[in-house]
Every structure is written in structure tokens, then in C-alpha cells.
């Protein structure tokens, strides 16, 4: 049985239940039960109409729960009328589900968890493992999030930017655990792109595909990080790059630039270079200028300093860096790199060691320590 196919049906099944009048939290539980049931039953007895099967089972599950509640609460008016199975839901329903799960009243971690469960169809256990928290903690986080959004109206229009931020978070912090969160983020963004025509959705999808394409080349067999310039470009996934570039070009042609399209454009220029030396750094600096204009993020200006260092030489990069606050994350690492390019190996080695102390994760710490060691061994 194709689990991804099954999970692709999750949002539309959930949307049908909600549209029939089920409250969001109960409907979501019922859909999870139906998914579990499908995994159990389908291998031996595959349904002819998978979605219809899921809707029927989930709706029955929902009614059972409501009946049990109603018996307790003497509230029986809702359950007497079982609506006929509705037509396939409009794309709008799936879209509203994305908005609901990424609603601004949720914290980012709650929005991420709820999106993965209600839209992605992952189980609480899978999500808990992916984020390395106890299952009970994740269950609580999800049920609190569901209570929050249950109070919202399902038909309220949302802001697509909030959805994109949640999907970006899933992708960017998606390299741990047994569930491949990066692949899951791509699947969810692809699904979103199918129901909404928006250049930034396309931009984010392109960005994800272009970065995902480099994944195999990004770590050495011993688990250490391989920087972009040293990656074996033969191991980049050319199909994924091709798709990302095509999606990006179509988005850019619509002339409604946004930060994800600009980031994707930078990733595409890297992907486009047959060797690191052939990278079009001048164009990359221009894209960073666009990006800085769009976001005004200090991280963007830090990355821009690296690009300037490549386009106009390390001295120019160091000058660009000098204008930035040196408490920025990775400021020291960038300084180390630019000093090395400038030939000042002693300063570079000292700064690499200092940057390693400040590294936000073990992989970067290991990489920066190795850089320091490499230069110290040469001197």
C-alpha cells in the first residue's frame, strides 16, 4: 500500500467532514482513526474508491464519538441526520485547512505539529519522534492547537504567508528522526501549489526542490558537513534541480517577486554552475540585494557579505561584513572564511576556532573545528 497516496487524501477527507458540520477537533481525530484503519485493512482488501472509503469510515467514527458524547450530554439533534456523501471537495476546502493549521493564533511549534497531523496525515508518534519529544508531549501540543483552531470559523480567508512560514520551518528543521520532514514539507508544498495559484508558493516549492537536490552531497560518509564549494556536483539530483528551476522561472515570469522566489533564484544560480569556480557571484549579489530589499533581514546581509567576497574579492566582503553587528549568528564563521580567502591564515584559524564555540549545532561545530585544524596543520 502506498502510504504517501493515503496521506495525500488526508486534507480533503478532513475538509469533507468539517464541511458536513463536524467540529474540527473531532473530525481530525476521526480521520486519524480512519487512516490507521486503512493501513490495517487495505493491504488485504484494497477499496475501489480510497477517498470514499476514508470519508465513510471517518464519518462513522465521528458519529460514534458524537453519539457517545450525546448520550452523556443528552444532545441528540446533530446526529439524527446523516448527510449523503458529498461531491469531491473544492480545492478551497483543502486550502482553508492549510490556513486553519497555520493560523496566527497558534505558536509556530503548534502550527507545525497540527499541519503535519491534520494536513500531512502523520501520526502523533511520528511527529513526536521527528522532533525528539515524548509522544505525550506532542499529543498535548496537538490537542491544545486543535482546541485553539476549533474556535475559529472554517470559512475565514487566511494569509498564505503564514502557511509558507510553517512549511518552511518543517523543511528547514527537517533532517532528524525517521520521518523525512524535508520530503514531507515538499509534498505538502506541492499539494498547496496544486490548490492555490501564487508565485510565492511556487517560489518556496522551487527553493525546497533546489536545496533537497543537494542533500546527498551535503554530508560526507562520516557525517561531517561538506560546504557547497566542495560538494560533488555529480551527486546533485538533476531531476529535482530541473523541476525547481522550471517552477521558479514560471513564477518569476509573473513579476510578483517575493522572498522565497529570490532565495530560490540564488539556489538556482548555485545549481546552475557546473563547478564552484563558475558560479555567477555577481548575479547572486544582485539577488541578495533584492532579498535585503524584501526582508531587511541581517542574516541576508551576512550571506550577501559572503557573496560580495566571491564577486569582488575578500577585502570587499570584509568591508561589507564590518557594517554588520558582530553578534549575529555565524558572523565569526563568515569572518574566518573571508580572512582565509584573503590569505590571513592565522586570523582565520583563530576565528574558526572561536566560531566553533558559538556554533548552533554539532555538525557546524565539527566543520568549523576541522577548518581551524586544517589551517593550524598548514602553518
Amino acid at each position: 500500500m502506498d502510504e504517501v497516496l493515503l496521506r495525500n487524501l488526508t486534507p480533503s477527507v478532513l475538509a469533507i467532514l468539517v464541511r458536513r458540520g463536524a467540529d474540527f477537533a473531532a473530525a481530525e481525530d476521526a480521520v486519524q482513526d480512519a487512516l490507521v484503519e486503512a493501513v490495517r485493512v487495505w493491504p488485504a482488501d484494497p477499496p475501489r474508491d480510497p477517498k470514499g472509503w476514508l470519508v465513510t469510515v471517518a464519518w462513522r467514527r465521528f458519529l460514534d464519538t458524537v453519539r457517545a458524547d450525546a448520550a452523556r450530554r443528552r444532545r441528540e439533534d446533530l446526529v439524527n441526520e446523516e448527510p449523503a456523501p458529498g461531491p469531491a471537495p473544492a480545492a478551497d476546502d483543502t486550502l482553508r485547512l492549510y490556513f486553519l493549521c497555520a493560523h496566527p493564533s497558534l505558536t509556530p511549534s503548534s502550527a507545525v505539529a497540527l499541519t503535519l497531523r491534520a494536513v500531512g496525515g502523520l501520526t502523533t508518534r511520528q511527529i513526536a519522534r521527528a522532533y525528539l519529544v515524548p509522544e505525550a508531549t506532542m499529543a498535548q501540543r496537538i490537542s491544545r492547537a486543535k482546541r485553539t483552531v476549533s474556535r475559529l470559523r472554517f470559512d475565514q480567508p487566511g494569509d498564505v504567508a503564514t502557511v509558507l512560514r510553517v512549511l518552511y520551518l518543517v523543511f528547514n528543521e527537517g533532517y532528524s528522526g525517521d520521518v523525512d520532514l524535508a520530503a514531507e514539507a515538499i509534498r505538502l508544498t506541492r499539494q498547496l501549489a496544486a490548490v492555490i495559484d501564487h508565485p510565492e508558493v511556487a517560489g518556496l516549492l522551487a527553493l525546497m526542490l533546489l536545496h533537497h537536490a543537494r542533500r546527498a552531497a551535503r554530508t560526507a560518509p562520516d557525517g561531517s558537513l561538506v560546504p557547497l564549494a566542495e560538494q560533488d556536483r555529480g551527486r546533485w539530483d538533476t531531476a529535482s534541480i530541473g523541476e525547481g528551476v522550471a517552477i521558479l522561472q514560471a513564477a518569476l515570469a509573473r513579476d510578483r517577486l517575493g522572498e522565497f522566489q529570490a532565495q530560490a533564484a540564488i539556489a538556482a544560480l548555485h545549481a546552475d554552475a557546473p563547478t564552484a569556480e563558475e558560479t555567477d557571484w555577481v548575479q547572486i549579489v544582485e539577488w541578495y540585494d533584492e532579498l535585503a530589499h524584501l526582508t531587511d533581514s541581517p542574516i541576508v546581509r551576512l550571506n550577501r557579505a559572503v557573496a560580495v567576497g566571491e564577486a569582488d574579492g575578500p577585502r570587499a566582503g570584509l568591508a561589507a561584513l564590518a557594517a554588520l553587528d558582530d553578534s549575529l549568528p555565524r558572523h565569526t564563521a563568515v569572518a574566518a572564511y573571508l580572512h582565509e580567502r584573503d590569505g590571513d591564515l592565522a586570523t582565520a584559524a583563530r576565528l574558526y576556532a572561536e566560531a566553533a564555540q558559538k556554533a548552533p549545532n554539532l555538525a557546524e561545530r565539527g566543520h568549523l573545528t576541522r577548518q581551524a585544524a586544517r589551517l593550524n596543520a598548514r602553518r
Binding site: D222, S224, Q357, A373, A377
Partner: protein, 135 residues
Amino acid sequence: MAKYLLLKHYRGAPAAVNDVPMDKWTPEEISAHVQYMNDFAARLEETGEFVDGQALAPEGAWVRYDGEGRPPVTDGPFAETKDLIAGWMVIDVDSYERAVELAGELSAAPGAGGAPIHEWLEVRPFLTAPPTITE
């Protein structure tokens, strides 16, 4: 079964035998060290003795309650703090002897020159829940 915390210190432990900062090792020595640590954790997972392992950033802060309606007070980091924890591994083993044996193996991780670091690790037993049968 009993749980033990194996604590690694940035500062505060007695000096190791092979006490050379990592950025003065060769890149190959660093790789060998990381490989040893990964293999060690993987082996403990296989024997069913691994519980958790985490690394901590060197810099943090001190925080305390400052009274009703007031935000907590933060202070530090203090460069002079003698003891600074770098990370830990939690193991669940049959005996104290086994905990010591494993800490010894972890301390043998290779460092500069490919020789064991002989780093001092702190072994601390967890306080447990009270047993059911007490007499």
C-alpha cells in the same frame, strides 16, 4: 537496571592526559574522534543500554525569580564559573561496575596524535522511584 549520567565538562574536570584543544588536532584526528563517539553510541543502542545523549552550547545564563509581577533576573554568562558542562550521555545498565566500564571506554576516545584522550568523565547515578517491596 539503574540509570547513570555520564557528564562531560568543558571546564571543571581534572586535566586529561592527552589534553590538546581540538582545533590543534589534524582534521583526520577529528574525524576519528567523531567516528569513535558515534560508534560508541550506536553500540550502546544495540546492547539496549543507551537512553539519551545531548551536547550543550558553552554559553548560557543564570536566571532567578525576582518577585511577584517582576520579570525574572538574568545574569552571566560568567567566565570565571569553574564548572561548565559540555554534554551528557544517559545509560541504563545492570550495575555501577558496568557504568564505570562504559565511562572508561568513552574516555578512551582518540584525540591528538590518535592517542586516547583519557578525559575525566563524571559518573552520577539517578535517584530512582521507591521500590514496591521494602521489607
